[in-house]
Symmetry: C2
Subunit: 358 residues, 2 copies
Amino acid sequence: MTDPLQPGATIGILGGGQLGRMLSVAASRLGFKTHIFEPGANPPAGDVAHMVTTAPYEDEAALAAFAASVDVITYEFENIPTAALDVLEQHRPIRPGREALRVSQDRLTEKAFLQDLGLQTAPFADIPDQVALDAALAEIGAPAILKTRRFGYDGKGQARIMTAEDAAPALASLAGAPAILEGFVNFTHEASVIAARSPSGEVACFDPGENVHRDGILHTTTVPARLSQSQRMDAVLMAAKILNALDYVGVMGVELFVTPKGLVVNEIAPRVHNSGHWTQNGCAVDQFEQHIRAVVSWPLGDGQRHSDVVMENLIGDDVIRIPELARERDCALHLYGKADAKPGRKMGHINRVIRAQK
Amino acid sequence: MTDPLQPGATIGILGGGQLGRMLSVAASRLGFKTHIFEPGANPPAGDVAHMVTTAPYEDEAALAAFAASVDVITYEFENIPTAALDVLEQHRPIRPGREALRVSQDRLTEKAFLQDLGLQTAPFADIPDQVALDAALAEIGAPAILKTRRFGYDGKGQARIMTAEDAAPALASLAGAPAILEGFVNFTHEASVIAARSPSGEVACFDPGENVHRDGILHTTTVPARLSQSQRMDAVLMAAKILNALDYVGVMGVELFVTPKGLVVNEIAPRVHNSGHWTQNGCAVDQFEQHIRAVVSWPLGDGQRHSDVVMENLIGDDVIRIPELARERDCALHLYGKADAKPGRKMGHINRVIRAQK
């Protein structure tokens, strides 16, 4: 499928969280319907979707029926079981493609892929066992961070190693999951590029945002980021290199460490990304619509920013600030319709639009 | 109900067209669900709603079940049958209230209401029959325009009278419907104010837009409008006067003629308005969210504009321009998901964002 899909077509989305929700809204702006596939009941994306299938990823009949009902399939998260993808791709194209998922589902594969492209990453080593961990620590040095190769997000599945004594308990905390050791990168700040690529190979990037994390979760993204003109150019070229190497279709988030020795790739996410939420109030075409445009073979937006924005995540109890935030000038609320404000749970975000002084 | 509704509550929307669709999306941004009531099958709003009821306005059981499933009721069009409102309001509050509907459903009542407030309108006369029409034409003069008192929109239910000879055929064309004769206003251009009022009486207005019509249908809205500072102030004060007089809750569109003798009210619409679509890409809180905020008793956005915008409607065959528009820089597409591009049918709109020169 490289012909553009026409308005009225249906986009299947794997995952019904806030990213699926905002993808669904973006699809509606282009006249498309969406069908959400999500194991959990009452998914946030279901409030704004044409259809919802509630079924586990092991339900092959449900997967096949879902695939048959849509024109193209995309996803909001990278940890989709391989067997489910095998079923789905028999029926409809999956965008972004399998290669992007294969690479980004495994931290070790991802790091090796980036290194092969000539991009800087944190020093890393495969950690099959304690012997390997000791050897890697001796080479990389502490502090370092031990991570599961798969299924980590928002700081989960990670253990810091400050001294050699932390090594054994850190490995034990991962309960035998395949792991990778990553050395610390001495960075001044973090940035990310939200990049998109169309089936025809067209690439467009939004301006890099500067990210601040709290407790391992993104707290704010500020656009523009503190980057020199050449760093900006580097960031875009690096993102384009990654997308082209994967023959990628869709939006990708590329997280970067800004260091005195250049930009270091932290990780890549083959989907719309929290650090791209600012685009909803800063660009005519936001990252969600950009992803949909790529997936349906439409022309990409050029990523042009009309306003500066500071995005702030609303996590857990932050919901008590909503009445106050609703009164704030130039503050755009984006709530996800989740029932329970559990600690660490992303409940929404705000985009503060910085108006140009005229 | 004056306590704010909490995220997770459900907003009932009467009418499933593009306005209901965009209201539903705005509700989702604040964490609300929506339930659409619409007689027609496959309504555009249904693609982005939590629930849809397909039933005629005469189905009292369906109306009652719909009302019982929601926390508050609003609407996207003013011509809701009175009997349906009688059923609905037994269950849940309807916002904006009945008085706004009573006044705006009838051109004669509306004109008299505006005149009573001391606002300028076109000269007008009640036209029960040919005798009244002849007398009114003698007083108001030709050219004039004969309109049905109820159920007119986008230039429908209207007949121009250029000379006295047009009078009889014009009256015949309305097929006995109660009518009003309106004199022509000598205006330089048209503007509109999108105003909002909360249950507590807070009023907020967006900057006036300048409207250009083609074939009786809105073609473009440009913001800012060509208005002097005092005209801008007048426009806002007039809108506030109207909203306060109706004890109004929600967003209203107030259409104005700009004349050398001041601003003349053309008509009012007790709902979000086509001439307010620019706010989607010009403000942190757009007219759809503003309406939802009023309806659920949340604080209103202040109407601040961060960018200048030119909105253009896509009517009928304009859909063939979509691929080209999708390539245009700073152009935000908003398509309504309608299947057939019939002549005169509103298929979508674009907002061209005018970036500030830095």
